[in-house]
């Protein structure tokens, strides 16, 4: 009978172990998870929440998938040399016209060190977070009232920033998230505001930021690096009003007067805070030294200096200081670009790839130093779409098609490497016998002539190789004159908003609103910084606008403006056939005597697919547009998708 005892004991143990407190066994062990209520009861966590609102700011520059300088390569500014080898990434798909509502390569980007993978989803998430933060902040535990005030202003400005990005890419009015949506609500009644109403919503957020005395005009210490300054509010307002007045978005309304006022206010307010163009060179030994190679022997020395200043601006990071050297940059992306000479520039320098190759069209847009455009700006090409027959500006006597890179705007030399330009840095290639201009030389620190003629084995134009240019040009902007494999350093952070844009935004709005003189004065500020002559006085109407458009194109070359500009200048029913359908290259033949013959050629035998009407705006992701249609009964989808 002693077994019975054991039996009872065993049963008791089993029962205790298994059945008692069954429920609590399955409770979650402590792991630091908290509720949103907890977050807003602690000052540091409230700050952390605002930090989280910054998370989906986009990577710019060449941080588009797959390390591409997206919008520059998708417009007529450049051609992506990865079109063959990375045919699953943005540029190749755009060129093939393979965007669809379910996969638009413009927003279905994988962040390359940046955090943004899907603009539509990611920007809405941060907009929600900003709205939730603003809703909770008044009752949240914040130890300093000035912090509370500044954080609110930052959240407003962040929301404005994300809306601005959405408007740029998707180009349509959006629902206005004043207070956050909740998950259990019905979305059936959600309405889209018009484009103009959305801009007004952005302006309202910007004004909230501007009204905050605790939000600083600029970030003055590294301890606040990356945070939004008050000046950005004016910059966003300036850009958004210009957009709202532009043909693609304006509809039947005329907002130019309002745009004129707003862009002028922005210009004046920022100017009053010390914002101005970058005009003084800091590192003269690099940007004005013998190894800087801006332009060629015999080019005007003053203009070489101006080119150096312009170049230095893009190659230098904005310091967080109350008295910065760079007073032009209003806001720069927080994402470092890394050792990007590896993936852009003259491919044979490092040997991997050349990335964005500036187009012949971009090169054509640089005036000669007498201030005359090279092409007739109203009809730049006689064959308007294919760009093989340039329609030269008859007033320009300086331009020589047989020596095309002479006497050009200093910004040309700071932006583009062309046939015969030079670069001093570490070259990892040994010269081959058919590198006539450079042979013999081996890998190492030296000055190399960048020859892009057909057949030059290390830097000549090619339709297939990854290291060789597609267009006859290599990118130079953003890279200091000597950076290379032996002295890698990160390309500076991308300057998203700079004072030059404020000036040109104003110029465009003023020209439309009938203030030609003010417009010309603003453009001239831009031109005089690089030593270009003033625009002719008395220009008005289309002639003035064309000069302003061209100035934007040149000044902001490869800076993600052109892609959006050609779109907003289009009518809603138009397309980009004249600019983006065909992009051309310069095929240079080296003659036996060492001279060169210049022939224009199309980069690809096929037209690009990304010029049609539907490419004016990004597709709203298919699933989302289907959901919206199902829920609200109305389609928000952009035309053509």
């Amino acid at each position: 009978m002693k077994y019975i005892k054991y039996l009872y004991l065993l049963l008791a143990v089993t029962a205790t172990g298994l059945l008692s407190s069954c429920n609590s066994i399955l409770d979650q062990a402590p792991d630091g998870k908290i509720s949103y209520d907890d977050i807003f009861k602690d000052n540091d966590k409230v700050a952390a929440y605002l930090n989280t609102c910054y998370r989906n700011m986009p990577g710019k520059g060449h941080l588009y998938f797959f390390f591409e300088r997206g919008p520059a390569c998708w417009s007529d500014e450049a051609w992506d040399g990865d079109d063959n080898d990375v045919n699953w990434a943005g540029s190749a798909l755009m060129y093939a016209g393979k965007a669809s509502a379910s996969a638009d390569p413009r927003w279905s980007v994988t962040g390359q060190g940046a955090n943004c993978e899907n603009y539509w989803d990611y920007y809405w998430q941060c907009i929600h977070d900003c709205a939730y933060f603003l809703q909770q902040l008044p009752t949240a535990t914040v130890t300093s009232e000035s912090d509370r005030s500044r954080w609110a202003a930052e959240a407003h400005l962040l929301r404005a920033y994300y809306y601005e990005e959405l408007l740029r890419w998707f180009g349509r009015g959006l629902p206005l998230v004043e207070t956050p949506y909740t998950l259990d609500q019905s979305y059936a009644e959600v309405k889209c505001a018009s484009y103009y109403e959305t801009v007004q919503f952005i302006v309202k957020d910007c004004d909230a930021a501007l009204a905050c005395a605790d939000l600083p005009w600029r970030i003055t210490s590294d301890g606040e690096s990356g945070r939004l300054p008050k000046s950005l509010a004016w910059a966003i307002k300036s850009r958004m009003l210009l957009y709202a007045a532009s043909p693609l978005y304006t509809g039947s309304d005329d907002h130019w007067q309002e745009a004129y006022t707003m862009t002028k206010d922005a210009m004046n307010a920022l100017s009053a805070q010390g914002y101005e163009l970058y005009t003084t060179m800091k590192n003269t030994s690099m940007y004005a030294g013998k190894d800087s190679h801006f332009a060629y022997d015999g080019y005007d020395d003053n203009l070489k200096l101006k080119a150096g200043i312009y170049a230095e601006y893009f190659c230098t990071d904005l310091a967080n200081s109350a008295t910065p050297v760079d007073k032009e940059t209003i806001f720069a992306s927080r994402f470092g670009m890394g050792n990007s000479i590896v993936i852009e520039g003259v491919g044979c320098q490092y040997g991997y790839k050349c990335g964005s190759c500036p187009s012949q069209e971009l090169v054509d847009s640089y005036e000669t130093i007498d201030g005359n455009p090279v092409l007739n700006l109203s009809t730049p090409y006689n064959d308007e779409e294919t760009h093989m027959e340039p329609n030269y500006n008859t007033e320009n006597t300086m331009y020589d098609p047989t020596n095309p890179y002479k006497n050009r705007d200093p910004r040309f030399y700071a932006t583009v490497y062309y046939n015969g330009s030079q670069r001093t840095s570490w070259w990892s290639c040994n010269e081959l016998p058919s590198c006539y201009e450079n042979y013999p030389a081996s890998a190492g620190w030296r000055t190399r002539k960048i020859m892009t003629y057909v057949g030059e084995p290390l830097s000549g134009v090619s339709s297939t190789s990854r290291t060789l240019t597609r267009t006859g040009y290599y990118i130079r902007k953003f890279y200091d004159p000597n950076v290379g494999p032996s002295n890698y350093h990160g390309e500076p952070n991308f300057k998203e908003f700079r004072y030059a844009e404020i000036l040109l935004n104003f110029a465009e709005a003023a020209a439309h609103a009938g203030h030609a003189d003010e417009a010309i004065a603003a453009v001239n500020k831009i031109r005089s910084r690089v030593g270009m002559p003033n625009l002719p006085a008395g220009l008005t109407g289309d002639a003035l606008l064309q000069r302003i458009y061209n100035e934007r194109r040149v000044e902001f070359a490869l800076e993600e403006q052109r892609y959006f500009d050609v779109r907003r200048w289009s009518s809603p029913t138009g397309d980009l056939a004249k600019t983006d359908k065909w992009v051309t290259a310069m095929h240079i033949t080296r003659n036996s005597d060492g001279s060169f013959t210049y022939n224009r050629a199309q980069v690809s035998g096929a037209a690009r697919g990304c010029y049609t009407n539907k490419y004016l705006k990004c597709a709203i992701p298919l699933d989302e547009s289907n959901r919206i249609l199902s829920i609200t009964g109305t389609s928000w989808q952009n035309p053509g998708w």
Binding site: L18, N23, R227, S428, S463
Partner: protein, 1170 residues
Amino acid sequence: MKNIQKLCAFSPKIAIKLRIPLSLKINILLLFLAIGLQVSADNVKGQTVLKAISMKNVTLEQVFNKIEDSSNYVFMYNNKTIQSNRIVSVDCKSGRINDILEQLFQGSNISYSINGNQIILALRNKIESNAVAQVTQQRQNILVTGKIVDTKGDPIIGATVAQKNVTSNGAISDINGNFQLKVPRGAMLVISYVGYVTQTVAAVPNKQLAIVLVEDTKMLEDVVVVAYGTQKKVSVTGAISSVSVSDIKKSSAVNLSTALQGRITGLTSWQNGGGQPGRDTSTMYIRGIATFNSGSPLILIDGVAFQKFDMNRLDPNEIENVSVLKDASATAVFGVRGANGVIIITTRHGKSGKPELSVSVDQSFTSFSRRDSRLHSWDFMKYRNEALANDGSDPEFSDEEIEKFKNPLHGLDKTDENYAQEVAYRNYLYCDHYWVKEFFKDSTPQTKVNVNFSGGSDRFDYFINANYIHQGGNLKTESKDDLGYDSSSWMNRWNFRSNMGYKVTNSLKATLNIGTYFQTWNQPGATSEGYGGDTAWMMRDLFYQAEIMRPFQAGPTVFPGMGIATGTMVFPDHMDRSAFLVMNRSGFWRSTTVNLTAQFALDWDLGKLVTPGLSLRGMVSYDEYGTLAKGGNKSEEDYYFRPDYNSDSFEFALHTASPSALSLWTSTGSNYSINAQASLNYHRTFGKVHDVSAMLLGQRDFWESGSAIPYNVIGLSGRAAYIYDSRYLAEFDFGYNGSEQFNPDKRFGFFPAGSVGWIVSNESFMKQYKWLDNLKLRYSWGKVGNDKMGGNRFIYLDNVSVSGGMYVSGLGTDAYGHVNQGLLGNHKVTWETATKQNYGFDLGLFKMFTFAFNYYTEKRSDILMSRSMVPAFQGVSLGNIPLVNIGRMKNSGVELELSFDKDITKDFHLHINGNVGTNKNKVLFADEPMRTDDYVCRYTTTGYRYGQQFGYKIDYASNDGYFISQEDIDNSPTITFGKARVGDFKYKDLNGDGVIDAKDQVPIKWSGIPGLSYGLNIAGSYKGFDFAVFFTGLGRISSDYNGFQNVLENIMAGYYYKYQRTAFTLDRWQKHQKITYPALTAMGSSTSQVSNDFFIQNRSFTRLKNVELGYTLPKRLLNFAGVKSCRLYVSGQNLYVWDHLHTTHIDPEQADPIGYPITKMVNFGVNVNF
């Protein structure tokens, strides 16, 4: 015999004509022979009884018994007249019954006649008109008593004792194993019990017969492993399939899930992950997938769901049985974890008897199952130019350059003193590499050694196993001597197991199972060049480099006399990195895993203490798993190769200027899990016909893994079964258990299931059909749950935390830098419910055929999923919105198992078994937004099979689906996703809007989840020889290969697979040549390279999975060193595959065509038993 000769004469001809592989030919031959032999055996049936008979001075009855014992014949006679105790002698060499009888009765007064299997004896010249009726009556009845025990001495309850050939006269052993039966004097008794070898003994009166039944390993299938126990197969009413270890051991795969392929009906297993050593995992589903969440089955080893003891690391030698539980009746006891089916693995235990020692050694050679045919550099250049021409571009290579690659030495002067150097230079510059051969070995050895030892006494049993396996990789790495470290790919594993049972008292048994493995694998460092230590990426790069790196790329290392150091790496042009460099020069990585699993169980028979048939079982087990990884990283200088074909020269340009020296690193990880369970079991038969059994089990699991929150599982399970008279079966099962996923008030769920069965063949009215061995009808219904939602845990709680790391400075602190929003909780969430039904029958015929049929349906409702109708603009990431129980899916299918088992002749045994399972799946509800009405398909999930592939329909009716002219393109609907070229696919405008766009996409083929799986095994033995051929395959499976780098032609400047070498060109078209691919392109992509009929390929395949030929040495050769048996065998694995892919270089079984390919294997082995 005439027929046989004819067949034999013809078969070689057939073989040649059909190109049947040699192994198959042999089998066909054997099959023909078998049929022939069977025919001849029938012809002589009734002739031969014994090889020879020689008996002297015995009673006539003894002779009768001898003959009855060894044949089907029964003697019938009247004992009064025949006097069977008379003394006779017989000596007959022929063994023919007629000869024997002739000798026996020669000169006696007895005549005989043979009527079927009855031999009727009578007095000569005296007609016994009613002989048959009288003989049985007049043969004297005796009472036989006895006791039936198993080899351990335990009584066997319910064993059947029957008079031989008179099945109506029988008895069943009682609870003590005792029986009694009246039979005629001299009758034979047949004692049988499921799972034991049937015995025949002579009926002896006045003596207690002691019968020891020996377990029949061949009959293992007759006992089925069920949840937390075993059941007689005859009493099973659920849907359970199993495979015995002898079949698993036929596979030379190191991976158990691969070895299970095609062996178990309803278990779909395929080597989705390719063939890399240590990573050659399979994907397993039971009866398809019925959820958007994890469809993985629950896997139990000896009753415990170990968290880290990977079933793939088990050695097949330590396994007794693998069972798959499929329907709700079989899995209900697993409650919230049972919805996806359960795989139960039972390890081996010793049996009482003499110790047995088994040693086997296997040596295999592995190589890739598929490989593209070679492309020479000059051919590559030709295709490259063809592709460029299709795009309207200029050729990349001039005719002169191509010519130089064909004749690299052209123009060299042999008398030149530098000739040798020039030749080396030219061959280096104008190269013609065969990269696959240069990067990978043709074959790699794999070695397995196993020793196991088992035995036992009536108190103690043991099974001890040791296994060693070495798996070599196919990487052709540089030698350790040159590198200073070993970067090759290999895996070594030691498995040890000791399973012991000890009977402490007659009613208490203790069991201790200890299993462990020690595994080390080595691989290249792979941490530089952006791989981050991911060798999968390295393999991927290496393999597709090997396949597609331009054939004229130099390298991979520099030769002597090239101007830079010999052996320096050459960086491949058009590539992001050199995988060959990563493989060799980036260091090494070695990882060791140690696993220990221990299980202690007590079985306490409470039969005497409480009530007969009751027993209690308690078990505690734990599992410990630790890894230690060590590696060294380095990087090395490498150079670009720059050819200049104009001047026949080349140079090198520095790529990586700053190499780093080898630096060591180490990392560790550890995990453990604990399981405790206790169960009460009851089994008793009342009044001979009422068989009652019940089980109640409670258990708790606890485990910790890395930094994850500890895991807990708790549950109660039960089963009650009743069988009436071995005819009517009923069973009820339940699981009551909780899941950490749900709110306390929703946490526990009750999952019931019931099943019924009817063994028709045991009905008395069916007894007359002798050919019917077994007929059972089954039905089950029940509910099971699933609480898995990817890796998400505690899904009822908000997963929100604050952690360090700031996006911008000055907001938050080091500790609170940002807020992480994970999945938000839903308090109402609960498990998804599977309602399963199974209809089935089992059939046995002619003692050689068995069939099992199942039809099943499953409705999965309340599937946990994210709402798809919440718009993204509301701002919570769609991945974080709370889960709801909203999805619904339906599954149904048919399963069929067939087997044939027969001793065709005394020496020739043939066994054929096959299985086929289908699965039909449909998503009923997926909360999917409807598309606008201009889409041909307004849903892409709802109403289709899960994972259905969509794409464009090619208009094959028009010029075989190709555009053949620009005019053709202009007159066809406009393609919106690129610019069509001549030779691109022409698509159907299904919505008729004049353009081809996403709206025209329709379902094409199936999905990545197979809808059909099958296996066919043909095995046999002839004297010492044995053979087995095993085919398995999948059907109704497809993959969208569009976009895969190893399928398209244009990535990284091009490579052209076999099927692209006859791509569309106008020239080939006009010449009516076979076209196997759309026009090649050198551009980023073409309009042909989208999801369409062509790139969504049918992955169905049939594979010759195993072939084995063995020879067991004759006993007479083994009279030394106590060798009991010795078998030599040779086998092949994955030797051939029949498929439907357009490509010939991809194995249809693997999902990722650029992963490590599936391997095939040839194996030589020997097994010795002592």
